[in-house]
């Protein structure tokens, strides 16, 4: 096809919408983070006050700690659980229905799952405390310290273990059977074959999952908002909910913008680190 600059017309509608919605507002957020606001009226530009406030903000520290806890827990409850389930599924005949059921929560809206689990966690009339009662255990206040982060993470795990199982299962099924056969001849059992031979072969996919879970751990908003609502004790406040509250409830436009820039940088830095680690330590491997 000959070069013709009129061809750019095909790209323009998408480019226009994308720039208008996603790129220009980032510039606006950056600008706003250096601006003094009185509610929605900009008063003066050029202040660093919002950024210096970041360093003395105890709530931010708390939110950040919660994000890290959440990431640690979801790596286990989403990623590791998904990996182990994929490993088991490949040995089961007719695992299709099972895999379909575990994937089902992924398609449901967060509001449906969040509201359902909020009912299940209810101190009186909730499913989980009723089950604890059945085996003679005391009822728990699930959505309060020290259980808040664990309870939210369990819901995340319930949703996404099936997602990661599905992508790991797809990668595992692309490993040539000859690899597994030779492992069996060497006398390796299913568990050792899985962790010592199959898992290393799909490490690219595992790194990708790690990337999705860690960045997701800084972006997740819905479940925290739906399960914990206003969360007056801030026992489950995370960067995204803190950001929304600062901006929309306290109408603190400048500081909310600075928090939004912080969140963006954190996500981009994690991506950079994992990409770097991937190149440096995992290297190029055959992709399955």
């Amino acid at each position: 096809m000959k070069k013709n600059n009129r061809h750019i017309l095909f790209v323009l509608p998408a480019l226009g919408l994308y720039s208008f919605i996603m790129i220009f507002p980032i510039a606006l957020t950056l600008f706003s983070s250096f601006t003094e606001w009185r509610r929605f009226i900009p008063e003066s530009f050029g202040t660093l006050e919002h950024y210096s406030r970041l360093f003395t903000d105890q709530v931010l520290v708390k939110a950040f700690r919660h994000n890290l806890t959440y990431i640690g827990l979801t790596i286990v409850l989403e990623g590791f659980a998904g990996l182990v389930l994929a490993g088991i599924a490949q040995y089961m005949k007719k695992s299709l229905g099972f895999r379909a059921i575990l994937f089902a929560p992924v398609i449901l809206p967060s509001i449906v799952i969040g509201t359902l689990w909020r009912q299940m966690y209810a101190t009186n009339g909730g499913l989980l405390n009723a089950l604890r009662n059945l085996v003679g255990l005391e009822p728990l206040v699930w959505l309060a310290p020290p259980y808040t982060m664990l309870s939210v993470s369990m819901v995340s795990g319930w949703i996404f273990a099936g997602y990661f199982m599905t992508i790991f299962y797809a990668s595992l099924s692309r490993i040539p059977t000859s690899v597994l056969e030779s492992a069996e001849i060497d006398g390796a059992g299913p568990v050792r074959t899985f962790f010592q031979i199959q898992v290393p072969l799909i490490k690219n996919m595992i790194m990708l999952a790690l990337l999705v879970i860690t960045t997701g751990g800084f972006k997740g908003f819905d479940l925290f908002q739906i399960l914990l609502r206003r969360d007056p004790l801030q026992s489950g406040i995370v960067l995204p909910t803190y950001l929304i509250r600062t901006f929309f409830e306290h109408k603190d436009i400048g500081y909310g913008s600075a928090l939004s820039i912080v969140l963006t940088l954190v996500v981009l830095i994690i991506m950079g680190l994992i990409n770097f680690g991937n190149k440096r330590f995992v290297g190029e491997v055959d992709e399955y």
């Binding site: 000959k2 919605i21 606006l28 089902a104 359902l116 006398g187 059992g189 990708l208 908003f221």
Partner: protein, 279 residues
């Protein structure tokens, strides 16, 4: 039986036990939702594990009325269908140019779109709110349609471009020889051959937009314009003590989604994992 086969049988049976337990963890909450949605609130609080004494759908009718679900279904439907059309048209047009045509700055523009894959929504949400507020777009369906469509573009362009790259160029060459223009080739040759990738794009766009919570939560405060997701949030705050009504409302939203999902299970899984798994 030697130790090796014994170990293998043990591992397999352990796997079966884990499978059965995990299945319970998934089925019990769903069964509880269905069962409790047919009981009275008093019954649920008194005995959360009890089963419905009779098949009673009266909660459904009450919840449907109280949450004005018909209206919010319609709003979600409108937002989802308009966004779907925008994403499919805009992304296939752009992907066609990136895959098949040549123009200055093509590579740069393509990379510019790919940046969108890694940007968290929160990086532009605040600026977008300020912008929409100035333009008077808040509390309108467009304040949700435009962002959710834009968010869908980068992945849709990436997947469509990869798909177009895999199509043979011989068909369009003969069309060009017969004097067809680039737009005609896009519409009459490329699009009809792209049903599989368009189906994938539609799948993740429709599910993503239908389920979207944060954007309408921020943009729409007018309760008569809320989509299903945020209207349910407000409803469950208002009726926080009435488990029966809330669970009935959830059941009415989840059931049609389960039916569609289990009918098109492999297509849906493929669509949702398209970003992670190469097709």
């Amino acid at each position: 039986m030697n130790t090796r086969t014994f170990g293998k049988t043990l591992a397999l049976n352990l796997g079966r036990v884990i499978f059965a337990l995990v299945l319970l963890v998934y089925l019990i909450p769903i069964l509880w939702m269905y069962s409790s949605s047919m009981r009275s609130n008093g019954e649920i609080v008194l005995d959360p594990l009890g089963l419905p004494t009779k098949i009673d759908f009266s909660n459904y009718g009450i919840a449907w009325e109280a949450a004005d679900m018909g209206r919010h279904f319609l709003i979600s439907f409108t937002i989802t269908s308009i966004s779907m059309v925008i994403v499919v048209v805009l992304s296939t047009l752009a992907a066609y140019a990136f895959s098949r045509l040549d123009f200055s700055g093509k590579k740069t523009l393509y990379i510019f779109f790919l940046i969108g894959l890694i940007l968290p929504v929160q990086s532009f949400l605040i600026g977008l709110f300020i912008m929409f507020r100035t333009m008077g777009l808040l509390n309108s369906l467009w304040s949700v349609i435009l962002p959710v469509s834009a968010i869908g573009l980068p992945l849709s362009i990436l997947l469509s471009k990869n798909y177009f790259d895999s199509l043979p160029s011989s068909l369009e060459e003969s069309a060009f020889l017969e004097g067809a223009g680039t737009f005609q080739v896009y519409r009459l040759i490329i699009l009809p051959l792209s049903v599989p990738i368009i189906a994938t794009v539609i799948t993740f766009t429709v599910i993503g937009v239908w389920n979207e919570f944060m954007i309408p939560f921020v943009m729409i405060q007018n309760s008569s314009l809320r989509p299903l997701t945020t209207s349910l949030y407000v409803f469950s705050t208002k009726y926080s003590a009435n488990y029966a009504l809330k669970l009935a409302a959830l059941t009415m939203i989840a059931t049609p989604m389960f039916i569609v999902y289990f009918a098109f299970q492999s297509q849906v899984q493929k669509g949702i994992t398209a970003g992670a798994i190469k097709t």
